[in-house]
């Protein structure tokens, strides 16, 4: 699971059917790192939006905690391949790593 905190959401309220890509430092998602499944959410026209984005089977170790990642959200109302320019939000603090568990190691043995 990864949790994003979105700021400056798109002006105006839309019902979104977004697909989410994550990329580091690039405005356009041409070098995306992952693709989530589609879901719907309402984005208000002001304030912050918090939502949980559950990504299955994703190896979070490829994400660097020090890197600021950008979240690209495709507007379901737009043309399929037209990335809505007003939908880019920053991932302010990606929640990577749970401090509750540290130094996990697992070893397999024949019983």
């Amino acid at each position: 699971m990864i949790k994003f905190s979105l700021k400056n959401p798109a002006a105006g309220a839309y019902l979104w059917s977004p697909v989410v890509y994550i990329g580091g430092g690039s405005y356009y998602p041409d070098r995306y790192l992952l693709l989530t499944e589609s879901w719907s959410m309402e984005i208000a026209n002001d304030g912050y939006v918090d939502f949980r984005c559950v990504l299955y089977n994703w190896d979070f170790s490829v994400l660097d905690k020090r890197t600021v990642y950008n979240l690209f959200v495709k507007n379901g109302h737009d043309y399929e391949y037209n990335w809505a320019t007003n939908t880019v939000s920053d991932i302010t603090e990606p929640t990577i790593g749970d401090p509750k568990f540290r130094n996990l190691s697992c070893s397999y043995r024949r019983a």
Binding site: M1, V54, N57, D98, L104
Partner: protein
């Protein structure tokens, strides 16, 4: 008449016999192919430091295969095991053993392993961040 020394032959024989027994054991142990037979149990030891507020968790082990080009793990039906644990508030170091009994019908080959920690209300594919470990070639299921 000089006193004759009695030779102790029991000790050398016992030592030799013991060495032969140990050697035979090592020979047969080495001869036995590495791995686990179908129907047998292997274990996975989880070791971690916990600093949470306490709660219920699942330690989960899955056998499957890591895709070569992608960081995804293909699970196999019937090859996932979980152990429910209850942790008191930390900090504290813990070790748990998860027993994993293989089905008799499991295919004989090398499997990759996926271990993770999740809460009971999380989907079985979901996991607490930084608690998933994928091990290539974790278990070899050998022919009986």
């Amino acid at each position: 008449m000089p006193e004759t020394k009695k030779r102790d032959i029991v000790t050398p024989i016992a030592v030799t016999a013991g060495a032969v027994a140990v050697g035979t054991g090592i020979y047969f142990y080495m001869k036995k192919p590495k791995g686990v037979d179908p129907g047998e149990t292997f274990t996975v030891q989880f070791a971690f430091a916990y600093n949470g507020d306490g709660g219920d968790y699942f330690l989960q082990v899955s056998l499957g295969h890591v895709r070569i080009m992608e960081p995804f793990f293909d699970h196999i039906e019937g090859l996932t095991w979980t152990l429910g644990i209850q942790l008191p508030p930390g900090p504290q170091d813990w070790e748990f053993i998860v027993p994993c009994k293989l089905p008799l019908a499991v295919a004989t080959k090398v499997y990759d392993g996926e271990t993770l920690i999740r809460t009971p209300d999380m989907d079985w594919l979901d996991y607490i961040e930084d608690t998933k470990i994928v091990t290539r070639g974790a278990i070899t299921v050998r022919k009986e």
